[in-house]
Symmetry: D3
Subunit: 305 residues, 6 copies
Amino acid sequence: EYVARPAGVCTMMRLPYQETALGLDAAFIGVPLDTGTSNRPGARFGPRHIRGESSMVRRYNISTGAAPFESLMVADIGDVNVNLYDLKDSCRRIREAYQKIMAAGCIPLTLGGDHTITYPILQAVAEKHGPVGLVHVDAHTDTGDTALGEKIYHGTPFRRCVDEGLLDCKRVVQIGIRGSSYSANPYDFCREQGFRVVLAEDCWFKSLVPLMSEVRHQMGDGPVYISFDIDGLDPSFAPGTGTPEIAGLTTSQALEIIRGCRGLSVVGCDLVEVAPVYDQTGNTALTGANLLFEMLCVLPKVKVY
Amino acid sequence: EYVARPAGVCTMMRLPYQETALGLDAAFIGVPLDTGTSNRPGARFGPRHIRGESSMVRRYNISTGAAPFESLMVADIGDVNVNLYDLKDSCRRIREAYQKIMAAGCIPLTLGGDHTITYPILQAVAEKHGPVGLVHVDAHTDTGDTALGEKIYHGTPFRRCVDEGLLDCKRVVQIGIRGSSYSANPYDFCREQGFRVVLAEDCWFKSLVPLMSEVRHQMGDGPVYISFDIDGLDPSFAPGTGTPEIAGLTTSQALEIIRGCRGLSVVGCDLVEVAPVYDQTGNTALTGANLLFEMLCVLPKVKVY
Amino acid sequence: EYVARPAGVCTMMRLPYQETALGLDAAFIGVPLDTGTSNRPGARFGPRHIRGESSMVRRYNISTGAAPFESLMVADIGDVNVNLYDLKDSCRRIREAYQKIMAAGCIPLTLGGDHTITYPILQAVAEKHGPVGLVHVDAHTDTGDTALGEKIYHGTPFRRCVDEGLLDCKRVVQIGIRGSSYSANPYDFCREQGFRVVLAEDCWFKSLVPLMSEVRHQMGDGPVYISFDIDGLDPSFAPGTGTPEIAGLTTSQALEIIRGCRGLSVVGCDLVEVAPVYDQTGNTALTGANLLFEMLCVLPKVKVY
Amino acid sequence: EYVARPAGVCTMMRLPYQETALGLDAAFIGVPLDTGTSNRPGARFGPRHIRGESSMVRRYNISTGAAPFESLMVADIGDVNVNLYDLKDSCRRIREAYQKIMAAGCIPLTLGGDHTITYPILQAVAEKHGPVGLVHVDAHTDTGDTALGEKIYHGTPFRRCVDEGLLDCKRVVQIGIRGSSYSANPYDFCREQGFRVVLAEDCWFKSLVPLMSEVRHQMGDGPVYISFDIDGLDPSFAPGTGTPEIAGLTTSQALEIIRGCRGLSVVGCDLVEVAPVYDQTGNTALTGANLLFEMLCVLPKVKVY
Amino acid sequence: EYVARPAGVCTMMRLPYQETALGLDAAFIGVPLDTGTSNRPGARFGPRHIRGESSMVRRYNISTGAAPFESLMVADIGDVNVNLYDLKDSCRRIREAYQKIMAAGCIPLTLGGDHTITYPILQAVAEKHGPVGLVHVDAHTDTGDTALGEKIYHGTPFRRCVDEGLLDCKRVVQIGIRGSSYSANPYDFCREQGFRVVLAEDCWFKSLVPLMSEVRHQMGDGPVYISFDIDGLDPSFAPGTGTPEIAGLTTSQALEIIRGCRGLSVVGCDLVEVAPVYDQTGNTALTGANLLFEMLCVLPKVKVY
Amino acid sequence: EYVARPAGVCTMMRLPYQETALGLDAAFIGVPLDTGTSNRPGARFGPRHIRGESSMVRRYNISTGAAPFESLMVADIGDVNVNLYDLKDSCRRIREAYQKIMAAGCIPLTLGGDHTITYPILQAVAEKHGPVGLVHVDAHTDTGDTALGEKIYHGTPFRRCVDEGLLDCKRVVQIGIRGSSYSANPYDFCREQGFRVVLAEDCWFKSLVPLMSEVRHQMGDGPVYISFDIDGLDPSFAPGTGTPEIAGLTTSQALEIIRGCRGLSVVGCDLVEVAPVYDQTGNTALTGANLLFEMLCVLPKVKVY
Ligand SMILES: [Mn+2]
Ligand SMILES: [Mn+2]
Ligand SMILES: [Mn+2]
Ligand SMILES: [Mn+2]
Ligand SMILES: [Mn+2]
Ligand SMILES: [Mn+2]
Ligand SMILES: [Mn+2]
Ligand SMILES: [Mn+2]
Ligand SMILES: [Mn+2]
Ligand SMILES: [Mn+2]
Ligand SMILES: [Mn+2]
Ligand SMILES: [Mn+2]
């Protein structure tokens, strides 16, 4: 029966809740952590609010024809219980939680949380799949080395991943990059690794369908992880985030990017940096919920009408 | 283990979720309906936000010594699936849902929703317990007869209850009543039925402990229902509601009222009219969550340290 | 004399208020109803806030040269007194109110209210003009059949209009359509009727001037009604609405659509689904006010410099 | 017929609008000026929002039995057209507008606007009635002399009134005064004139009924003006104002003050300093609307049940 | 050492604060005035909030390679102490403050304040440099003559500049102009002076790089002032402003405009009309901070990598 | 000269800024840390917003006659540069910063930040003064032992202080304590140490002047530290905080508490837990600014008129 939108205990898309990933093809999971944030905190409430607004998302993707729930077993498996007072211990907790998900053969779709969390997630993902290709949408490369002597916060996850060999660096693309910098050559590191860096300036005023054709070629058949920092979007589309940068991507471009990943061997996805307290309308969380649904729709084996 | 406050799929006080009331002594249940609202809508999202903020509420009531979870089986049983487009059909749906709860021998603690819902809830409650005593906290008596020809909206539930004999009228008290009126003698109906009407003016600047002593005497041993309209509180304490009236009760008085119900034969409770979109901080929903916990703490058989 | 923007009892564009449409060529009228809303309510306050923000709108349309007040008698005729507690009775009240407006030979420009209201408005319009062509801007087709057994809510008005023969179906265009769906083929109904459905995806990154040239051809000389659901716009432009969908139209495209209707035989217009409580800046209401002014500017007989 | 709360072109309490005060016993009138504000502006939108929220206020005052509309002809006469760019010219415009109201024999109830406006209003009032007694509720005495060389802004109106002999200084009371100061002895001026200054500290935790008994005695039979700065209230009750000061009056005390003026020869009233943009819920404007209604209820000749 | 973003007494980009412009090549300076605003006030707090959000802006401009702090001595020199109660006296205060800055040979980068302030700023600038070219981004031409008899407010600064010969009129371009008007031919004045008026409609859907090539040619070698009214941007990008107009520029276009000024002889810049109270997320202030940084990056003599 | 309230680079009360405490009797200092927060983060921006709102606070305390700036050298010395990514390292940084302040013989008045910071502050204070008496206003005792294995977060500072002998436990009072608990006997620890615990319930409806007379006696002549958690106040007065608890203290009681400390040997003060993003009006930050000023006013040697 049709359920009124405001009704129901709040899970992602009002899916069934279960405690573990056992028996699932894909699972939505929250990581309510934001203590890796350099500016405005609040992403710890990202999972709660993305779930809340996800009641607007229906089961069929008309634009692409995808019907994920006809092909995959999907549930909401709740949140990782993070340690808000020790970021490194939280990383351990996240890694261990995702090792269990990977062991269950389930594809995780993560509701962040700040971008720090992608580092321990990728530790677990690469442990199973080996170094992964990465489609990374963000205003920032997140490849800093340290801040105040710290190696772990939301500005460094992909540097840490490179350090540990979790990425197949030739199969990394970063889209939407922009903003001012602490140094004159901040993208040198990325390019030295072989990453493709697509600046926001190169995306202005146009469709990203051609870019994604190239990205699919770049990614090839290997395992691919999608990491979507909501601040890759322009702040007009996603005001509710911690480190906004002006002149970013549009939501239409975001859809083109994710939909352009269809056919890739996607082994995991995340949507991070939704900070609800800066999102008075809930529309940033709603955007996050839609983007997560779009990611689900491009997973391998999803039926398309 | 301690769970971080932002973590967890969102149920009331992060209690287990179950689909029915079977096996429970008490259950939290949401009724996400607001189409009976005369002014600002939004209470349909009351259950979602009260659950969200309830992560601040811990298991022991230090002020009263109550430890409800040591005595009672309690769960969150989700929401009634209301019909947002037909208020009368929603009333039928609510009544039927509560008939099942009553049949299970479970005490319902309701997260509203606008005050319309108390009418069908009391139909189910009185069907089991006979006419009930009522502790009603509100800025309004909610005993109007009709508006625009309609007999059912959030201004009339207790008139409808009187019409159907659901209330033991000598055991009804209405506390916090105030505001302007459409007629010169709006309380005449209440007093003719035998209700005690306690005006907000008579509560200003003082403790309500003495009042509650009288209320307990008034209620005696019969079944009692507690209906708490959050607009009974002053708008400074509960801005997030649809028909605020100035110069109302304090939260300390609200606690005195509910705590003053200990010892009564409470058979059901509701907390209604939280409209989260007018509650930017979430503090009205938080207040609602606390008041519901306090109601749980005065249920019969709750252990007190 | 110049009037300070904050000054004046609040009518649309600070026009004179009169109680009926008698003597007017066109009239602004509010329908403060939102009980047909499936998700976030609040559109009942759309008329009040659109009027408030309309003090920013001046009398001449520089972009198009239109000077509507040099050609037409226009006033604000207040609001339909809706029945918030019975949606079907509200439809009756709206229909009767618009029958009077049509009888006066006046073109109504409606400040909604949720989209349910277009159904009874079109009953009155078609009663006078026969089946009308429709330029419908929206994220949704609003051609659902029922929800929870109900045939009338904001997801069904154009299905009801088809049922009653109020539309000249070959002269219907729906622009901006997008979002997920409850079924795999949601546009089949529209296309079977002969509607043209223009998806948002087909509007991204480009001007709609060419589309509107085709639309004018489609509409021909017959009577045309313009129904503009503010959620046709992207939520970045119109956050204050009840069922936002990401990746929608821009306000520049909205202006192109409305301005592209010049020359058509427009017999009525509405702007619906502005929900001010989700519009903290007032900019959604301001957008609504501007779009209504633009509609006024394309009415037949408006002088153009 | 009952009118739905959101319906209707927005006048104070949805009273009829008329352009002048002719034929009225009392009139609501707005002065949308805030350029006399020293800190947070926004009171220019006070009249619009007080009118909007006043749809919650009904016709009978149950607490006092007053039925003003059974005794007095009352209407909303719109706003004074202020000059936002020249404060002194605005004062001239206000004075002239009120001279016309006074000439019509009508009692003005003003929706401010910042407190600067009381100075030109009292020029017009005293021109008719001679020096008036004053019941002034405020956090501030508003008796500064100059700021930056300026003699006119919202910190000086009552100094200017003293300068011009508009006040009967022995019949002035200022209630709710508090806050830090630019000098060690800021109340000396007031007390030298003979004003009674009632500090907020002297109002904490108690009823002001005894105070008002003394005030009535102080005021005697002469003409009295009530000037209520909403910042006299504590910011918890009235967040939406420009120069909030902590630890102020409660709304219950505000009601006691105004109701305590019954029997006085009230010749005019104002409610100033509501700044809606700092009042997200609208509850400060709602409070202003209620207080204005209470002032209406204590005008001479109002029938009491 | 890296400084945590929330840390530090709040100056623009956390630059050193000094009281005067002596010894500086360029200086950020605030003008916290908003009493020239015709609609929503609040820009008086623009400087405070632009400074606050500027902690997100880092020292290198990656997109353009500019490294302004390697070439120029820059500091924050605080705010002009305006007279909030007399707009004309504020203009005198501003002019005198800028005369001192110009005398110090320092380029001012101004944090507004409403657009009125550009008039006295240009008095001081032209006193030193003679009539200047102007790159003016705005929704409005700001060339009105009077309102309510007043010659000075935020709708008239450039008319006043023309009156006084402060502009080299053939070297004036106004970009982003749109919105309704009080008359049929509002741009006649501008064009008669020789201004180039670029309507927003002519900017929709496309890059402004070609336009800026023409503008550079128009400006030639003479002194140029950049005046950027944040309402030139679409309200989706800059909700926090006083007189928003729909369908404006994007932030990517804003960057193209400012970056397109590289090579010109820029002698001063301002960013005006940020009204923080309408900017709940702070993102409009953040946009303002970024645009001011971009202006700094195109000053003469800035090193580019 | 009088400075307009919005003007000036933002320091506490617009005092001069200096980099160190040298030569000062008292200093305002910020600690922008919130990673010890268990629920809603945001207190990292407390210092910035308290400074911003402090422009409302003037130099003389009329209520008490205190004129602190006539007796003491006071400045704003900026913020401690915290490590947002490692709470324990932040504690080290804070401790070292305060050791320098203490060495300078200056009394620190701290703008928090969450309550974690009081632990390292008291390490520095007790290092100089020996174990201190404590006037602690809070909803919570903050004497938890661990959470998720962590010994340091905002729920444990005073347990850690006891562990390290920083408090003179017989001279500790905790005022405003309330809320639910994780265990049945949460105050046992406090009472075993000899703390006086004053529950919020014991403060309702009454003046705290008598309590403070007892507290002064309890504190005697020894050194006293005042730690004021803004959540000690009721959420109606201080909505902008991270772990609100209903039914708390009023601001008038807060003033009574602080003013009641006059005569004690106060060696340091803090005001913590202001989370501006939950404080849309700024009034919580304004309250914090006022309370800090009141603390300054009761420092030893402050002149009283
Ligand atoms: Mn990132
Ligand atoms: Mn990012
Ligand atoms: Mn009620
Ligand atoms: Mn009520
Ligand atoms: Mn629609
Ligand atoms: Mn729609
Ligand atoms: Mn005042
Ligand atoms: Mn005041
Ligand atoms: Mn401008
Ligand atoms: Mn402009
Ligand atoms: Mn604490
Ligand atoms: Mn606390």
